[in-house]
């Protein structure tokens, strides 16, 4: 079973991707979501979500995937 923390991070990432630039082209939305994650998420959280994208990533929506892949 996936740990609760990662479940929350995936949910939050999808939520941010969906809400932070609705209606904008997906690349703009992904960019803004990545920026949001950089400005508001602790590095440990970003590290985990990046790890998840590399290992699996299936529960991340498309814009969320794109956003996470843009994280430094």
């Amino acid at each position: 079973m996936m740990d609760q923390e990662l479940t929350h991070l995936i949910k939050m990432t999808n939520q941010i991707a969906a809400h932070c630039a609705p209606g904008e082209p997906s690349s703009v939305a992904a960019d803004r979501a990545a920026n949001h994650l950089t400005r508001f998420w602790a590095p440990s959280m970003r590290f985990q979500i990046k790890g998840y994208l590399l290992e699996d990533g299936s529960l991340l929506d498309d814009i969320a995937k794109d956003a996470v892949s843009r994280l430094a």
């Binding site: 609760q4 923390e5 929350h8 939520q15 959280m45």
Partner: protein, 960 residues
Amino acid sequence: MLQYFDPRQCSNPEIDYGTPSAQGVLVSLTIDGRTIEVPEGTSIMRAAMLAEIKIPKLCATDSLEAFGSCRLCLVQIEGRRGLPSSCTTPVEQGLVVQTYNPRLALVRRNVMELYISDHPLDCLTCPANGNCELQDVAGEVGLRAVRYGFEGENHLAAERDTSHPYFSFDASKCIVCSRCVRACEEVQGTFALTIDGRGFDSKVAAGQDESFFDSDCVSCGACVQACPTATLMEKTVIEQGQPEHSVITTCAYCGVGCAFKAELKGDQVVRMVPYKGGAANQGHSCVKGRFAFGYATHKERVTTPMIRDSIDASWQKVSWDEATTFAANRIRQIQQEYGSDSVGGITSSRCTNEETYLVQKLVRAAFGNNNVDTCARVCHSPTGYGLKATLGESAGTQAFDSVEQADVIMVIGANPTDAHPVFASRLKRRLRAGAQLIVADPRRIDLVSGPHVQAGHHLKLLPGTNVALINALAHVIIDEDLQDQRFIDARCDLEAFARWRAFISEPRNAPEALSAALGVPAETLRSAARVYAKAGNAAIYYGLGVTEHSQGSTMVMGIANLAMLTGNLGREGVGVNPLRGQNNVQGACDMGSFPHELPGYRHVSDDQVRQVFEASWGVSIGAEPGLRIPNMLDGAISGTYKGLYCQGEDIAQSDPNTHHVEAALRNLDCLIVQDIFLNETAKYAHVFFPGASFLEKDGTFTNAERRISPVRRVMQPLSGKADWEATMAFSNALGYPMAYQHPSEIMAEIASLTPTFSGVSYQRLDQEGSLQWPCNDAAPSGTPTMHVDQFVRGKGYFERTEFIETEEKVNRRFPFLLTTGRILSQYNVGAQTRRTANIGWHEQDLLEIHPHDAENLGINDLDAVQVASRAGETVLTALITDRVQPGVVYTTFHHPESGANVVTTDNSDWATNCPEYKVTAVHLKKVERPSDWQTEHRAFTETQVSLLTQATKRALDETA
């Protein structure tokens, strides 16, 4: 000639001028040979008082309009017949007034004689002795005898009403001046009191001639304050006598930030009296601030530091040194084992600015990370995010005074009469003067319909549809061309506006398209939008019904959009006004309590800002954001986050999804709780630092209008240390030295590091009473209204606000929506108010349910009802009421055993993680017994209380 420009703020709050101030052109008149100029509309009584001529009076007081009933303030005016009352007679150019001559003296003495002929002459044993206007005036008019005797019909045997826990009503002492009745009407706006009967039978009656406790009295204390005799008197004064000195301080309950005179004998507070000079409350109060201060000396206060190795062990009472060393060692061990980022802190919105500042400084400088957050996370974090993005500053735009200029007031997701009662009274006063009211709330709050207040529109939307509402309103304004295009062109980012305009104009944002989702008829939405756009000055006041949603930040941006769209920003009477829940939630946010921001809302990634703090603090500060409260709890469960310093917050009760919070707290290796009581969170703690109530320390609070007000110590800290001293001791034990001698030194440091605070100092606060930030060289007297000529961010930014439904939806398994709120007599988790007589008004949290739903489920009033969500279940007592709409249930969360947050989920605002307290899909079922959680909670509480009692006993044994 003396000239009086007489605005409210220039008069002396210690003097009763008899009637309110007026504003108008100056007119000159002569009173007792002295010529003075005062504004037109001023009464002769007030003009005389301004010239330091005191006219005897009983029914007049300057918080109320003139009434002219007592006939003591009569004066003689040259060229006029009779003896007019000076309170009801306005000044006129050239009047020549005499306030004293033999004729006036005789009439006054005769009037006074009549009053005293029906008044008990027990002055020496009367609780008002030493503070009785009737006694004073009898002295002033020189009454020496009562010729009528006391044998005739009188009221001396009238019954006393002692039903109220905080004051008594002794009708035998009443002079029927109506000050109490008028205070209830004019100041409080409740209209609970009336004069019953006529002529000699006239008497003050509460409600429908009920006892005060049973009536619709809201216990604000305005009547007690207004009473010139001992008729309405605080029970504490009856028991203890008149106070002998007083200290002006700021209330520690809600975000209104009322100024109070703490009136004392020695270091015992006898009563708290609202201070007329307080800019936020102007002499008014509510039941909490006025009366519910007894918690500060409650027997359950924990006043000794305590430690223990595990949460199953009994507490050990130790010295401050031992406690701070123990805590510091544990934190350092954890950091060695799990890394520097495995610990963090939570600052309190209940503590002072200086104290929250110190905790975030301790986390950043001594813990060496940015893992600091504050309880604003769970209430107004979306306000900070949304207003910063659109307007450029994370704060409300107006002073409370602004409401007096509003023509239409829109209240969204706030319940001011319960949660911000003193502001609600000002708001209602404006409504009675003719302003229009729009209420957007799933529930029929008191403001919707009350004495002389009626909302023109009650938009009874379904929980979770706020953004649809704000979009529909904005759509109408564009659709019907009601926007203030000149304002937009001059003040806003036009590219963003064009994009937003295209979005909002789409047919899917029309009221007709959104009406079904909202549960509000399209025509009602259109009509409300027209009222908001066309009325002139339109002001929005909002609360946690806006922020505590998965789209909380989006909704805040939608509100800002609506205000910009109609040009309702940058002047008095308008604006975007978040009503803050806690006394210092604004201040806690200002002070750098968020993991991504240093004091003054500056992002930690800003090198220049960081360097300023690094130079002052002598440490390096991380450029990356730290963990927020929900992230800390997740980390605790997964085992990466191990130590927490929690200052004055009860996350075990106040945060959502209690099961999750409890599991996280149990997983911590070191939980340090600083509080005045062993709260729910402290039951999981390893270290307890005893906190100090607001009466025990100096500092400042910042209220919802950005007003920084002084908090002044009236008694020694019961634990020996105020909270700022406890944090300093902990920091010193951690090896990061702090050596402030007084909170004023902490404020000086804040001012030196924070541009919006650079003009703030204790000296200036003493001079001005309070200051609204930004307060600096550009605004030396502070800033009542923000964004006057331009927005803080430069151009106002229209953010696109797509309505995206929450994932928390009803289905066949969970067919009802639960929403939560507060009640007047209680405050948040209830730790304070439950420990006062306020408990008499709210012995338990109730589940409000619509009669139709109750009938379908076979639920009767006071039945036990199981409320189950995807997160957990609890059992509450039913209250059947049509305040809620069918399909929606409502409860408060003031009692820990209610477990309201066992039911709420970990859904949260997309931008800030502010929990979605306001929407939980639930299943309801009539049951016979408490939930498993409640049974376990009771057992756990019993265990923890016994572990505390053992510590108390052991300490006693050791001292014996």
